[in-house]
């Protein structure tokens, strides 16, 4: 374990780049806070993705330049956006009807824990006693697909992929893909399949840092970017 703790992992940008590959052309996508926010910078050439934000905007533009910030044009992460053609504004009830009604194709979320059956726990750390659920439960339940983008282990080196979540749940069985700084793991609701590993890492090493049993895909390979 100790030898793995210091071993080089992929930077956040590469994790985001790998997630971006998963977004289909023409998809309506909601990006959470953290690594997910970076995903928009890496959408492959030739693909168009429309971003939805709980702040009440569809077809969000890029992040605003410094000095160009407009308090009336933000995403859910509080970043100021550029004004672009084709964006639309709506109220919170509409923003969440889009999510709950299954009109958002993919959401990319960060997480504290993901379980072997795709349970997501990302809104509350029990030791703090209070948490911000924000739009996470609605996204986990309502989006047609939930991708988790996160570090493979927490800051104490403990696995974030676990057999059963010990933190309060955000949604049950909702995650279909986990992309970490070590691995790409598919989740079919029954178990986890290791599909890709970071360069220099073996499937066995990834398993050592994972709290749930991984089925190693017969065609497991290095991260495909």
């Amino acid at each position: 374990m100790t030898s793995l703790a210091g071993k080089e992992r992929l930077p956040r940008e590469v994790v985001a780049m790998r997630v971006a590959k998963e977004l289909p052309d023409g998809a309506y996508v909601n990006l959470g806070i953290g690594i997910p926010t970076l995903v928009s910078s890496f959408v492959p050439e030739g693909r168009t993705v429309f971003y939805h934000s709980e702040s009440g905007i569809l077809n969000c533009g890029p992040i605003a330049e410094e000095g160009e910030e407009d308090i009336d044009l933000i995403n859910a992460g509080g970043q100021y956006l550029q004004s672009v053609g084709g964006m639309s504004f709506f109220d919170s009830a509409e923003a969440f009807a889009m999510i709950r009604g299954g009109h958002v194709d993919v959401t990319v979320l960060g997480s504290h824990q993901v379980s072997a059956t795709g349970d997501l726990a990302n809104w509350m750390l029990p030791q703090r006693g209070v948490g911000n659920v924000g739009g996470a439960m609605d996204l986990a339940t309502g989006a047609r697909g939930v991708i988790v983008a996160m570090e493979h282990t927490d800051r104490n080196g403990e696995p974030k992929i676990v057999q059963e979540c010990t933190f309060p749940l955000t949604g049950k069985g909702c995650v279909y893909l986990i992309v970490t700084d070590l691995a790409v793991i598919e989740c079919d609701g029954q178990g986890l399949t290791l599909k890709e590993v970071a360069p220099g890492w073996t499937p066995e090493e990834v398993q050592q840092l994972t709290g749930a049993k991984l089925t190693i895909s017969p065609d497991v390979g290095e991260f495909e970017l």
Binding site: S53, I57, D91, A97, V130, G135, M137
Partner: protein, 464 residues
Amino acid sequence: MPGTPLDPAAMARRAAQELFSGAVAALGPGLPRRLPSQLPASGGVWFLADGGAVGIQGPESDTNAVDADGNTVGLLSGGAFTGVVEIAGILRGGHTDLAFLQPAQVAANGDFVHWTTAATPGLFAPGPAVDMAYGSSRVVALMPHQSQQGRSNIVERCGLPVDGAGQIDIIITDVAVMTVGPAGLELLELAPGWTVDEVTAITDAPLTVSSDLKEMTFDVPVLKPPDKIYPTAVDALRDVPEGATINVDGFAGPGGMAHYLMVGLRDLGVKGLKLISNTAGVARVSGFGTPNIIDHSILVENNQVAKATASYPVSPSASRPSAFEEAYKRGETELEVVPQGTLAERLRCGGAGVAAFYTPTGAGTLLAEGKEARTIDGKEYILEMGLRADFCIIRGHKADTLGNVVYKGTSRNFNPVMATTAKITVVEVDEIVAPGQLGPEEIVTPGLYIDRIVVRPSDFSAYL
């Protein structure tokens, strides 16, 4: 022979006497649609068209508004197009003072049959009448006293399946005015030239004659738009009672937040407030604003907050706690955490008169504890309750003097939803304009939801 029955215009004028300044009135198909033509377009009353318009007027040709009969009608300067869901919410949510309907039959107990007739048994065609009747504070039946075959439309008991049970409060016909009370029908007014005996003879229900029986008159009332403009935030909020539930708009950052009203509430010092808001004041501690931006924290620090209902109640960083989190940890405030989409929908339902709804969000989590769960089509749902409030403070960009509001960009968020939920809704805007300056397709919050308007002073700073 009795006198001549009244013509439809005279009936509409008598019906218009039921209106008052600032009233919201739903107009069903048939005779009720004649009301707007009998009144000057003063903005003193909001007529609803179930097709999706607020503020319809008499017939005109160059407009896209249609009334309940599908006729093209005019739109008041300051009227708005809303869509049918919003109209249904205005009705169901208790925002409508009066409904005018033309039932086929009304019974002595207030039951009514709307479009179903003896010729169409089993074919229910209530149209908008059911929502209009059940959603309005008072329901006026405006109808011919007799059918074309000479049968009484006023009956002891409806002979056809009813579209509304006990809903009618007053009946205005072409020969008389009657109220519906616990003891049955009371005859209040007679059309000119008619006697009690003549009316009784053509009525198939017992009538009690009022000791104050009058002849019908046809003067229409002068209706004026209520003055909604308040000089300062403190003036607009002076009657907020201790322990009030208050919806506070805003997403999380400085945009869409009624900073000036919030300072007014702080200056009034009223205690025990229960806030319903997306956050409990995080702009000062998150990346949204700057450390000295005004948010809910000014109320928390002034010991005014007893409870917050929020989706994002605390700072994103535990090492930079908000004023609310510190008060919560000291046991000074209560907290109810609600998923953001559920919060929005609870408000939407509260404002639209839907008591509760099933949502999949939160099923199987901590936030489902104590809530009714139900499996529908193989999926798990939980029951969430609609939310209403005593007061609501929202932030618009512009309002007209009738209370119509438009917003700016993502600062719309919870504002239009919250505006529908409170007994008193106060909006803070940058500018107040004349009716007509905000286009009917542009208006987001129709004026009937707004009770008070204040302008954020040009020298007001959103920073402490």
